[in-house]
């Protein structure tokens, strides 16, 4: 390899497969280069304005009264004491809410029943945040306690928690011969805890009443049009009476403010005729912010003597919490990918998402897929152990490739280089054992200054592969619109795709730079007056919004080049833009782009709509997904087998990226996914006992710190273009988060010989009790 001039080359890309940056690293801009995100520095320096920093003249402060109980009937609410608190301007309860125009199973403020701890019951606006909180606390709610249903397995037979019932979705998947049996059969029960997105900034926003009776919301929304529509529906307003301005997005691996937050904030502003600001405490955020679905998965794998899969049977149960939200969608992913990236002719799965009195569950990086990945990868390790095969070998014998079918019957048409990814991670040399280093230099499990003892440390190596789908599934209408405008030497992109940390704003700049040769590209702030781009979720913006930006830029390019081509009597196709210059095929023309653009105003708007999908049928069959990205990992862990402390030493990643549009950002996203995956594997679990949260704070809810996160090495960013995707690129964020927990679990299993059936892996699960 040449010496890396690229400062983002953090990984020792020991260079298997295609090199991520074929172009010279010093190329200043455009696709394939690695410009820094514009918000990176302000965020690192602490000067980035978050939504909690918003301010308006004469603003009031909102506060919410929440249910202390996981399940109770509201007998009465007395707001009189709150109304007499000096400085209070409005108190709202369910009785003040307009009739919603679109029904939802989740009320803005609980009316008759509260279904989870922290569910909003009333809201207050006052001239000081403390006054608002005190007044909220002065509201007297009489509750009649009801039994809390917190064990998802009880949801089927327990009393209905909601008029819509407890079953949010049942998805059976049946394909092949139910009677098929394998020569070896392994069974396992797997459990995944509740991971919270724990965003840097808790929910915050500002609502400003408008003269036309509408309201303007300033929020760090990741789905401006969806949020506007839902808020308007809750307020009983026409959609265009609500305007949403996106501001201060902290980086989101899940959805942001929920509809209850937005609607109460808006209604307080409408009621008082004043701007109202509301920021939630961390505890409130833990209570209300949708977390990852806790899951219970029971698997039975049948294989032949060579280790080829014969049949997979599974039961998957997701705890959806108190309200439906996106559980149905998450369940579809868990079910469709329930076998992992493997070929199996006979698959029989029943999957359910149920309602409980636990905190709400929702969207979070790799939702659904992550849970089944942990189970299937654990099962493959079990099979390997049973057959005396190497964990890599059993995977190689079963991996799927382009042209194979998912258990849903859908043929995989995109690149599926699973075997190549596995080979790539396997080829990277293992991290050195610190045997010869002095103990003081060995970062032992338990951390520096911890209780670690080298004599009790065992090293383990684990492999996992997984997949994550891109774009909405099961018939979701995927569409995005973008406008590109060029005035003189600079260009502007207008697109309502929110950069929630996935790097869309940087990508949009790169696209315009590549297509038009303009260096200075400005990405406009997002608001709901712009055309719909859809939510920042499911790895969709690179494809749909990137596609829209590219199309619009190409249209502008045509407008720019057409008159020049006409002047020279050639067709536009014979001109190209590169290195900031327009050149003709014969070299006669060589004009700087800036010169061609001088005094010009060009613009175009374009839309991107990938091919449609269809819902899964009653046997779980159908072409429900647009495309899939794959990822393989090798995790190396050290376990103190007496204390059960685990340190992830190294995670080596090979990822199927289609095309590396910004290798630096891809590596960052992979590191982020690994960090989040390691968090779920070892630390993060928002525990609920009887529906009451045990650890709703950053003291109790343990996020990985720099000391807990491993060195992440990129074996390869495998570039095999997905011909139907924009630029041939695949989404990169979800797959690493999906695979990392399974890889870490496999490594801990290898170090301890313990089954490791639940995530997070607690110290007690990794203690090896030696015979005395």
């Amino acid at each position: 390899m040449t010496a890396p001039t690229d400062s983002t080359a953090t990984a020792d890309s020991t260079g298997t497969g295609t090199a991520p940056t074929a172009e010279p690293a010093e190329r200043p801009f455009g696709l394939g280069s690695s410009p820094l995100r514009t918000d990176a520095l302000p965020k690192a320096l602490g000067i980035y304005p978050y939504a909690a920093d918003l301010w308006a003249e004469g603003l009031l402060w909102g506060a919410v009264l929440r249910s202390p109980h996981p399940h109770a009937r509201i007998v009465s609410i007395d707001t009189s004491a709150a109304l007499t608190v000096p400085g209070v301007h409005a108190v709202l309860t369910a009785a003040d809410l307009p009739a919603p125009t679109v029904p939802s199973d989740r009320p803005v403020l609980a009316a008759e029943v509260v279904r989870h701890q922290g569910e909003p019951v009333a809201a207050v606006a006052a001239d000081h945040p403390d006054t608002a909180r005190l007044a909220a606390a002065a509201i007297v709610v009489e509750y009649q306690l009801l039994d809390a249903l917190t064990d998802p397995e009880q949801a089927f037979h327990g009393p209905a928690l909601h008029p819509d019932g407890n079953l949010l979705r049942h998805l059976p998947l049946r394909t092949g011969d139910p009677e098929a049996v394998g020569e070896v059969v392994v069974e396992g029960l797997y459990q995944v805890g509740r991971q919270d997105p724990a965003p840097i900034g808790a929910e915050a926003g500002l609502a400003v009443p408008r003269p036309d009776g509408g309201v303007e919301l300033h929020l760090s929304s990741t789905d401006p049009h969806g949020d506007r529509e839902r808020t308007a529906a809750c307020l009983g307003l026409e959609t265009d009476r609500v305007r949403l301005v996106v501001t201060g997005v902290p980086g989101a691996t899940a959805d942001r403010e929920d509809r209850s937050f937005q609607a109460t904030l808006a209604l307080l502003a409408l009621r008082t005729g004043r701007p109202v600001k509301m920021t939630l405490t961390r505890e409130e955020s833990f209570q209300g912010h949708a977390a990852r679905h806790p899951a219970l998965l029971r698997y039975r794998h049948h294989a032949d003597a060579q280790g080829k899969l014969v049949k997979v049977e599974a039961q998957i149960l997701l705890d959806g919490g108190a309200y439906a939200d996106v559980s149905a969608e998450v369940l579809a992913a868990a079910t469709a990918f329930s076998v992992g990236p493997y070929v199996c002719p006979n698959v029989f799965v029943d999957a359910w998402a149920v309602r409980t009195n636990n905190p709400p569950a929702g969207r979070m990086r790799g939702e659904g897929t992550l849970q089944s990945c942990f189970a299937t990868e654990s099962q493959l390790d079990l099979l390997a152990a049973r057959l005396g095969l190497d964990p890599l070998e059993i995977r190689r014998r079963n991996v799927l490739a382009t042209g194979d079918a998912l258990p849903t019957g859908q043929a995989i048409t995109c690149p599926a280089p699973v075997a190549a990814l596995l080979d790539a991670v396997a080829e990277v040399p293992l991290p050195a054992l610190p045997l010869d280093a002095p103990d003081t230099e060995w970062l032992l499990p338990g951390g520096p200054g911890g209780a670690g003892d080298p004599a009790a440390v065992r090293r383990g190596i684990g492999y996992a592969v997984g997949m994550a789908h891109m774009l909405g599934a099961e018939g979701t209408d995927e569409v995005s619109t973008a406008t590109v405008r060029v005035s003189g030497d600079h260009a502007t992109v207008i697109c309502a795709a929110v950069d929630a940390g996935q790097g869309f704003a940087t990508l949009a700049r790169q696209i315009v730079q590549s297509v038009l040769g303009v260096t200075e590209v400005y990405v406009a702030p997002v608001d709901s007056d712009q055309s719909i781009a859809g939510p920042s979720a499911r790895g969709r913006h690179t494809w749909v919004s990137g596609g829209a930006v590219e199309k619009a830029a190409l249209m502008v390019r045509h407008q720019l080049l057409a008159p020049i081509a006409a002047d020279f009597g050639m067709s536009v196709e014979l001109l190209s833009i590169a290195e900031g210059k327009i050149t003709s095929y014969d070299g006669v023309l060589g004009m700087p782009v800036t010169e061609a653009l001088e005094g010009k105003e060009l613009w175009a708007t374009a839309q991107c709509r990938p091919h449609p999908t269809e819902p899964l049928d009653e046997a779980g069959q159908g072409d429900a997904f647009v495309s899939i990205a794959f990822c393989a990992m090798r995790a190396v862990v050290d376990v103190d087998i007496e204390l059960g402390a685990v340190r992830v030493v190294d995670v080596t990643v090979a990822q199927d990226v289609g095309r590396a549009l910004n290798p630096g950002q891809i590596e960052d996203r992979i590191e982020a996914g690994v960090a989040q995956g390691v968090g779920l594997a070892l630390l993060e679990d928002l525990r609920s006992t009887g529906g009451l949260l045990a650890n709703p704070s950053f003291t109790g809810y343990r996020l990985p710190t720099a000391l807990d996160t491993p060195e992440v090495r990129i074996a390869t960013l495998l570039e095999e273009r997905d011909v139907v995707a924009t630029f041939g690129a695949k989404a990169v964020s979800a797959a690493p988060a999906v695979v990392a927990p399974a890889a870490v679990a496999a490594a801990v299993r290898a170090a301890t010989n313990l089954p490791i059936g639940r995530l997070p892996i607690l110290p007690e699960d990794a203690v090896v009790v030696l015979p005395v």
């Binding site: 951390g447 911890g450 009790a456 710190t705």
Partner: protein
Amino acid sequence: MLPTSLDEAVEALGASPAAVPVAGGTDLMEAVNAGRLRPGALVGLGRITELRGWRYEDGGTAVLGAGLTLARMDRPDFAALIPALADAARTAGPPQTRNVGTLGGNIATAAATGDTLPVLAALEAVATLARAPRAGDSGTREVPVSHLLTGVDPMRPGELLSWVRVPLLHAPQVFLKATGRSGPSRAVASVALVLDPARRAVRCAVGAVAPVPLRPLEAEAWVAGCVDWDARGEEGAQAIDPAAAAAFGEYVAAACVPDAYGADASSALLAEGPTAAAVRLRRTVAVLARRALGRALK
């Protein structure tokens, strides 16, 4: 209020009963921000330089200022004096809080997971409490830290923790903390162990398993008899039989973790034998105590 001397500070506290002292604020401000505490007034201790260092007394005692920061205690000069306290200070939270958090604050907060507390208990440290002097009363009294913590002799209103007296033992001492992770975290269990070769004694305290540090006195006495005090520190010599070290660990764990650990009151009555939580915690404590002894005698 920002007094610059101890006298001014106790004066200020005596004058306004609603006032609360604040040192680094890492515990206090968290409680204020969470709305659990609304102090009427604050007396900041940060400018009292005399409390931010230490001095020696009678050759054998170090007198530590309550304003010593956890970060300061981790420095080599301090670590050479009282190694276990330095170890505890090093692991007591992330650098940001250790830079401002103080010894006095750690003691006054008296959290079960306060990391300096088991060390102070093992060292049998004594606290000096200061109060505004009245007629015939200098206002100062001395109380063993363990009495402060257990509430046998608690801190009284208007009192300020000024000094902590710690014996200098000139022998190995160890603090080990199990957290279940690599990053900074509160203890699940911790063990402080100090050797007192002059008295041929081993003193040990277990932190985080109960509201206050626990001293397994019988186990201490027993293991002191197993140590080959003369072989200690000799090249190639073994100061304790590994089986005895392991037995010491079990002894400490059994003494400090009750059978009913983690059980609620009703089931505790019915329970037979230790709960699963007790078994787990004992295992952890036993490993910590064995390792601590091993390191001290290495």
